[in-house]
């Protein structure tokens, strides 16, 4: 999926960098992370190894109170363009950039010409002309990141597109599971919630399946994908069946903003059928780790008590989110002089 089609950024002369700011009519592909499908197993392994190294150094530096952790991306500018609100994702990307010595800049969508009716393509061309070295994009429309990657030369990292994908979230989730359980292959991971409208679920299904994990998805029938969408996973509305023997339970936020129509009558109705509480976990998967991409609606998807338990990995997910994004930046921006990933 990912092709090399331009000189590596680290070797580019200032002149080359200037010329890269011109809009390109051709559909050149650079090194993008739009979908989990952009990554093969070797690249996933390399990203995890890189993230591990980043995390180790981060923790050491934190003890020494030294910053930034590295200057491998010094002089580079990473632009975050978020057409949807976000706290942890955007700041994890910005922290990761800062830790690598890159300048992270935000393109303020609300105050830009987007509000004046500028087309998405024209906005993208403007962003490229500003001279950023990479773009992190979040957009409410599925396919927006692919569209950006198809039209821009600079690397595009998908920070979440509509109900499409959120690949860095899936990477950090898988990384976190592996860190806690020492492996991924052979595990059972159950994802609970609005699967059909969740980009986190979609990227996790693709990634975990690729890594040999048995994936189960469960939620109200109104929130489940077509049974043939992912033929290798369990799709069910039966929570007990989905939880039984699971090693990890991943709860998703019920995203009211993505549901034009009410897919369930109320929070109580959701909780009655698919809410996670200590009793249910104790009964069906007493040892399972609990994950959530955040933000959590306490008392809807997860009972408050579960958040405080040792089995909850929510804050560790956030912490690993920085390391994973550092790894993505390093490998996409060729910081160590190697070829960018090939898939």
């Amino acid at each position: 999926m990912v092709e090399m089609s331009m000189p590596t950024a680290s070797s580019a002369s200032p002149e080359t960098q200037m010329s890269r700011t011109a809009p390109h009519p051709s559909r050149m592909r650079t090194n993008d992370l739009v979908s989990i499908n952009d990554l093969d197993l070797d690249e996933i392994e390399a990203l995890f190894a890189e993230a591990e190294a980043c995390k180790r150094t981060l923790l050491q530096d934190r003890r020494r109170q030294a910053k930034p952790y590295s200057d491998v991306l010094s002089g580079r500018t990473i632009l975050t363009v978020f057409f949807e609100p976000s706290t942890r994702t955007m700041h994890a990307f910005r922290m990761a950039a800062a830790m690598l010595g890159a300048a992270a800049q935000d393109f303020p969508v609300e105050r830009s010409s987007v509000g004046k009716g500028e087309s998405f393509l024209d906005t993208l061309m403007t962003i490229q002309a500003l001279g950023a070295d990479a773009l992190v994009l979040r957009h409410p429309t599925t396919g927006a990141a692919r569209f950006a990657a198809d039209h821009l030369e600079i690397p595009v990292i998908n920070g979440g597109d509509g109900t499409g994908e959120h690949p860095t979230q899936a990477l950090l989730d898988a990384f976190t599971i592996r860190e806690c359980l020492g492996k991924l292959h052979g595990l059972t991971v159950t994802i609970v919630g609005d699967i059909r409208h969740s980009r986190v679920a979609r990227s996790n299904i693709l990634l975990l399946t690729k890594l040999g994990v048995e994936v189960r998805v469960v939620g109200p029938p109104t929130m489940l994908p077509h049974p043939q969408a992912f033929p290798d996973i369990m799709v069910t509305d039966d929570l007990a069946r989905a939880l039984r023997g699971a090693d990890v339970v991943m709860a998703l936020r019920i995203q009211a903003e993505r549901q034009k129509k009410p897919l369930i009558t109320s929070a109580q109705a959701y909780r009655r059928g698919w809410g996670l509480n200590a009793e249910r976990l104790q009964r069906f998967c007493p040892n399972a780790l609990i994950m959530h991409p955040g933000p959590v609606l306490r008392g809807v998807e997860l009972d408050a008590g579960l958040l405080e338990s040792d089995r909850a990995l929510i804050l560790r997910q956030v912490e690993n989110g920085v390391a994973i994004r550092m790894a993505v930046f390093k490998r996409l921006l060729n910081a160590d002089g190697r070829e960018a990933w090939q898939a």
Binding site: F120, G143, R146, T163, H197, R199, H226
Partner: protein, 435 residues
């Protein structure tokens, strides 16, 4: 004395069942003589149609001519040129224009414009409701008097069942067919492609097949109740085919059309094409099971004919994400060659002629679709041997939004005549030019 003689073409006239090699003479815009061999006439133009098919000009009851108000998508001239290049001599244009064709003044204006500017016959389908808003019925009698031949709110469905009932009652009085764009807007809301495994795998909002079928079910029942003529536009779902089959068996006055793209493509193809917005239309390309049912319905007569739903869009409308892009693709110039390429084993040449000419004309009560002595010389000549590749250069429409760009097709329209006058001729050497 004749004005033109077409020599030794394979005449395919579905209305009379004729399929044989003949000379066909034209005089004063009409077919003057048909014979195995007509005598030579001095100083008369002749066309050598040896090895080619001579067919009644095609009739497409479903074309978006985008006039008035959307000249950046199509004009009367470019739309008519596209029709002629596709073998069509009569098209029906849809009312979802700016302003919509919902009152007799704009219908009359458009009719006069088309008479002056279009080399092919243009018929007008007027709106069922004012502004196509689904609230108040238009004045059917006045629209008919102004020249409308059918009524439709194509582009959107009529969601109010009582309003549709009254529309059918009045349409029956004025003897106008109601052509339905069957879509429940609540079920389809926000969707960009067929709701199924492919949409859910990719997180693209879906349009369920039932969004079409529930409206077809409602409207065939209302057609039975009112006795009106109901025509179902662009059938896309297996369940719709089953409902129409049931309604016809019951004696309800219902007809149906299918587009070439729904007969040939599925939602899996959309995914394989990387969600190129040129693969986005409404109704969407559906699952393989639906596509197979459409083919079966066409072959067993449940579906009456093929129509293109030619829907031109300017580049900007498609130069965005699949989800945001406009619905619709062009189709006039590729329809016949596509069906010939892919269905030659299942449809005889006479069947093809029928599905593109006599069947749509007869179903909707339009002139044309016949080519016997005395009939207007509205005809097209098709070379079944010629292979060509669809490219932007081969197209006459103002727009280029088709998923068939790059496809190599078997057979090509080489000439189209309206009232004996050539309105389209494939340029010499065009085969090379398209390579």
């Amino acid at each position: 004395m004749s004005d033109l003689i077409i020599r030794q073409g394979r005449l395919l006239d579905p209305a009379s069942g004729v399929d044989r090699r003949v000379d066909l003479a034209i005089r004063n815009g009409r077919v003057h003589a048909i014979a195995d061999r007509l005598p030579d006439e001095a100083a008369v133009e002749e066309i050598d149609a040896t090895g080619k098919w001579v067919l009644p000009g095609f009739v497409d009851p479903h074309v978006h001519l985008r006039t008035p108000g959307q000249a950046h998508k199509e004009t009367i001239e470019t739309g008519a040129a596209a029709a002629a290049a596709g073998g069509y001599t009569r098209i029906v244009c849809m009312p979802n224009t700016t302003p919509p064709l919902d009152n007799p003044i704009v219908v009359e204006w458009l009719r006069m414009q088309c008479e002056q500017r279009s080399p092919v016959h243009v018929e007008i389908a007027a709106a069922i409701t004012e502004g196509q808003q689904g609230q108040r019925l238009t004045d059917f009698g006045a629209l008919k008097e102004a020249g409308a031949v059918a009524l439709t709110d194509d582009g959107v469905g009529v969601s109010n069942a009582a309003l549709m009932r009254h529309a059918l009652e009045l349409a029956r009085h004025w003897d106008l067919p109601i052509m339905i764009h069957a879509e429940d807007p609540e079920l389809s809301d926000g969707g960009a492609m067929h709701a199924g495994a492919v949409s859910d795998r990719n997180g693209i909002p879906g349009i369920p097949a039932a969004a079409e079928a529930v409206m077809v079910a409602r409207d065939v029942l209302l057609a039975e109740m009112t006795g009106a003529r109901l025509h179902v536009l662009h059938v896309s779902a297996e369940t719709t085919v089953a409902l129409i089959r049931w309604a016809k068996a019951r004696g309800i006055r219902v007809s149906a059309e299918v587009s070439p793209h729904h007969l040939l493509l599925t939602d899996e193809d959309v995914e394989a094409a990387g969600f190129d917005p040129n693969w986005k239309m409404n109704p969407p390309l559906r699952a393989r099971r639906d596509r197979d049912a459409l083919i079966e319905g066409l072959l067993d007569g449940t579906i009456d004919f093929i129509a293109t739903d030619h829907a031109p869009h300017e580049r900007e409308s498609k130069e965005t994400t699949f989800v945001e892009a406009s619905f619709g693709i062009i189709g006039l110039e590729t329809a016949f060659a596509l069906i010939h390429t892919h269905f030659a084993d299942r449809l005889s040449p006479l069947d093809l002629a029928r599905l593109f000419s006599s069947a749509p004309a007869k179903t909707l009560g339009l002139p044309g679709g016949r080519l016997a002595v005395g009939d207007p010389a509205d005809l097209t000549i098709f070379d079944p041997a010629q292979r060509w590749t669809v490219s932007p250069q081969t197209l006459h429409s103002l727009s280029r939004n088709t998923p068939f760009l790059g496809r190599t097709l078997q057979g090509r329209i080489v000439r189209t005549l309206v009232a004996g006058r050539t309105v389209y001729a494939l340029p010499d050497g065009a085969e090379e030019a398209t390579q």
